[in-house]
Structure formats: structure tokens, C-alpha cells
Subunit: 194 residues, 2 copies
Amino acid sequence: MRRFIIIGHKASTTADFKLDDLAGGAGRLDVLLRCINSAFFLSHDLRKDVEVLLILQGPPGPPKSIRLVGSELRYLNPDERSTGALIRNALMKEARSEERSSPGIYISGRNLQDTLGLLEETELIYLKESGEDIRNAQLAENVTFVLSDHMDLTDEEESMVLLKAPKTLKLGPISYHADHCITIVNNELDRRFL
Amino acid sequence: MRRFIIIGHKASTTADFKLDDLAGGAGRLDVLLRCINSAFFLSHDLRKDVEVLLILQGPPGPPKSIRLVGSELRYLNPDERSTGALIRNALMKEARSEERSSPGIYISGRNLQDTLGLLEETELIYLKESGEDIRNAQLAENVTFVLSDHMDLTDEEESMVLLKAPKTLKLGPISYHADHCITIVNNELDRRFL
């Protein structure tokens, strides 16, 4: 299982946004939607062994967590707008404990700490420019990556992640958008395990 | 210079489409918009040494070619909708020879053959599952990749490309969406030349 946790620092925690304004009023939800695309889509196929966990921290009711499960997903298309509609549907639920919104999409009130606490038997990877090159690193097939949206992790969030003793890796000589990071990671894991 | 030529087999050649329907009425323009994102965006920066050439072949007036020049680009944002608006603006021009639509964005009536004919002093790469692994290949810094949208190249298009004696490379053990291919290629080139 490959798992990607992505923190949306300003991402809307209500369904009260327009699909025409995903990069604005929805708190840069567009970044997270592209992460979903990168995590799941193959040419003419969907990755079944992937789970994406979005931690939405924007107004008005943070945190909300949306979990997408590759083996159960239906109705996912690659474009931002239609994926935005699926996430908006999930946000219509008033879930504190986890509830299913549509096949393969679950919503809860979990924060980053809760999410990290629920991880079992997975290697944790934190992507950072100062890390070891992923191409030289040993990687488990059961692995969880922590990423951030267009903003860095806060000091507090980084501390929570580091407490779990992750492996710190980098993907190249420069920094990439979160969705591009996921694509590069998927390619590296495909080369190791497919 | 890194150059990506992407063929949009059904992509609209008129501005007469809705930004709400980029994956439908615009002929899967969403695929090409994600390719633009992958080609240019770095974390907090835009790649200046990249050029993207879209060959639009959908109705009603194919072909149209849109050329995006990294060193001149302005107003490009990562989300699909706003990039779709820039492309739609370009399609409002009735250009046969090349005309500028906005900073760094040019439109013309060039087809794939014209576009390949204008390439100078660049290594040409054709991505195909049967190719050599990119990680083992020699690559020039001045390089042009030919990609297709959600459909394969037609036999005729493939023949045109093969006539230019490209290097045929693969990116991994499975096939990826065109925008994911561009992200993986950019990462490989960053590792070689940055």
C-alpha cells in the first residue's frame, strides 16, 4: 500500500465554495485535487494500492479529513473540476467519526495527529530538500508519504511528523509542487515493486 | 531548452467552449492544461528554459498550434481553469501564421509536420513503452519530447515522428498520463543538468 497524507492549510472545510473558484474561495483546493490525480491515475487505469488522506485546515470548521481508497474508488475523473465536485459532496456530510460519502471516499474530523496515530505497519517518509536522495534510499512497499500544499508544514506539524521518526528524503536538486512529488514517488515505487 | 510537443487529437480549435467543460466540450483540453502545469511549474517558480507546443486537432478548424515560451510567460497559474482561459483567449485569434496572444503564448495554424520541420539542433525523443529506460539513456540538454493526449499517436503521426529518427525511451514499467510523463522527464533532466 502506498499512502499519501497531504495537508491543505487553507483548504475549505465546508461545501460552500464554487467549482469555478477551486484555487480561490476553496482555499487552494486545486492543489489537493491535482495530488489526487497524481496519486491514482495511470494511463487507462486507476491505482488500486493507493490511499490518499487530505487534512483540510481552512475555515470554517477545521479539521476535516478526506480519505480516498484506490481499491474502492468510483466516479473519479482526472480533471480538477469533477474531482472538486466529489470532495464538495463529501464536505456536505457533518461527520466527526468517519463516514462514507461515495464509493472509496470517506470524511471524518481527524486532524494530522489522529491520522498519524492511526498508521500501522508502514514506513513513514517526509519529503524535504535536505533529505537523502530517494533513488539511493531503501523503501518499503508499504509506505506513507507526508506532503504539504502550497505552504510548508508549520513547525508544530513538522514536530508531529518527526516524532514518528520518518525517513527524510528528497526527490531531486530542486523543490516540486506536491502533485509532481507524488508522480515522481509513484514512478520510483513502480520501478522497485512492479 | 526543454521542449514538449503534445498532440490533442480532439482538442477544440475554437474559443467556443465553456471553462466549466474542459474535459468534455473542449475535447479533453484538460489533459493539455495539466501538461502545461507539469512542464512549467516549480515550487514558487516557473521554468524559463521550457517551451510547450500544443497541436490541437479537434473541430471545427484544425490544426491550430499553441506555443508557450517559459522565458516570456506571464499570468500562468497552476489550476486548469485559469490556464484554460489563457488558451481560449489564444483561440480567439484567427491566426494562420504565428501571432502573440498574451505574454509567452503564441498561436498559429501549424500542424505536427510543420512543427517537427521547424525544430533545430535539438535531440528528439519519442516516449514509448518499448523504448530504452530513460535513466540509462544519454540525453542532450537541448531536447524535444513528443507526447500524445489520452489517445495514442495515429500511425501517420507516428511515421512523421519516426522519420525524424528520434530516440525511443520509456519512463518505467507502466504507461503514464502525458502530464505525469512530463513531470518524470523534468525530474530526470533536473538531476542531469541542474
